[in-house]
Amino acid sequence: MNAATHRSRLPAAISVFTLLLLIAPFVGLALVTHWLDFHFAEGDGGAIAVSLGYSLLALILIIALGTPLAWWLARHPLRGKWLIDAVLLLALLTPPLAMGLLLASMYGPYGPAGHLLERAGLILTNSAPAFVMAQFYSALPYYVIAARAAFEGVPRELEQIALTLGHSPWRSFVHVSLPLARLGLAAAVALAWVRALGEFGVVLIVAYYPQGIPVKLWVNLQNIGLNAVYPLLWIFFLVAMPLPLILGLAARRRRLI
């Protein structure tokens, strides 16, 4: 065996080892689960419903508010753009626990916004709206950054051609920009979904109740023990993963550029 073969085998060996490291925890879960005694703890069903329902709501809000922002950032050169980038990165990089504390101080019962909203009947502590807000804040920056990159990848010329062919800017957006950005947008939606569903730190501070899957896992672990989390953990994977996978596959199956 010569030196060249050795050199080419080393990266392959390291790659295999790294992949094994990645997959080890999942194999571990499969091994430690008591398959013959697979049962949920009390309240797990409710946690699943809470997580799915409110994450979907948060996702809709994120898409509705984040898409115009992403589009605007991708298409309008601004002088103070670095400042907007900094704000997005700040929101993205703030640790979840710290973000939870920030939200509590702003929207909590004694916070400036929370005080006003409470008068209007909207309570943003330990409530369904608080849960959705927590997910919205934790996932929005990821969505905006990914969606902006997707829109930036659409050649501007094609949008302009759509205009010269008699389409309004809105129709040009729907018929040219959206289809051409769909792969990146699908990734952005999937990323936001996983972020929202898996959010723990922010939710823990502002919306301990209603309990979604992440907080319920934590509660089960504290009250009952490690064995009690496995069934809910399986469900967690089952509901968190399909959307990104379906979106990813759907975007790839259609004919792309």
Partner: protein, 329 residues
Amino acid sequence: MRIDYAIEHPVALHAAFDVEGFTVLLGASGEGKSMLLRAIAGLIPAKGEPFGGMPAQDRAVGYLPQGYALFPHLNAWQNVAFALRGPQRREHAMQLLERVHMAEFAERYPLTLSGGQQQRVALARALARKPQLLLLDEPTSALDPVTRDDVIAELIAEVHDFGIPALAVSHDPQLAAVADRLVLMHGRRIIQIGTPQVLYANPISGAAARLLGYRNVHRGHIEGTPSAPRLMWPDGGTSFPIEGHAPIGANVDWMIDPAAIRITDMRDALPDAIPASIEVRHVNGRITQLGLRCGLARLWATVPDGMQVPESLAVHLSPKAIRCWARDV
């Protein structure tokens, strides 16, 4: 159709001329030709007629940008149908594809089509909008050199067939030569307008001659006496007699037809012959042109049929064949 447009940003430009049949606006790169088309299409802010002040989607223009910009996510007929509405859109798109001889490629996606085929789909797409004016940005730049003459012929035949005035901007003299009408642009100004016959016969300046693709356009200045003027050619490092009355000391652009250059053996050269060496031999069918190095410059000379090119050669520039234009700077 009369075009009169003034642009201020990103560079100032004003252009006014008529578009008749297939009109080519010929100018070097960086003259703002593409910008002018984009202004007429309403894609950049500008003042002018026609369509002044209208948003892009309301202007009846068919705009074909460089590279044609077909929608990659739509196949050929869907691209053509993009501007169409209603239940008949597919049928109508197919009719347009048939007119540009692309019906058999209706289901193909743009990436699988050649440059010329993409151009025809883009033309059909632009025509679907029922434009009053076609705008073509460098229509020959993305074409395969082997087939481009045929593609250009086809394009012009189609434009005539549809009967819509077309404005093509280009720096390609080959395209200029087949236009119905030519507009020359230099220094962000229009310098000459007319038919190709007139412009090729009488370019208004050295810059115009260069745009039209003439070889052997050089700079120089007039020396000697009014009765015996000589043209000093600094790049060639030499001077030679010319005919006519040129103001002594004037800066000029001058030109000579490659066929008017006499190639001789160095040993039997005339007094005003210029020594030259062969750089490149350009064989095109029965005509051979030589790229000759004279000092720092290059002269193109046509080799007469059956002539044996001497090893050490000189060229003689006939005073009658030299054409001079006064130059400002």
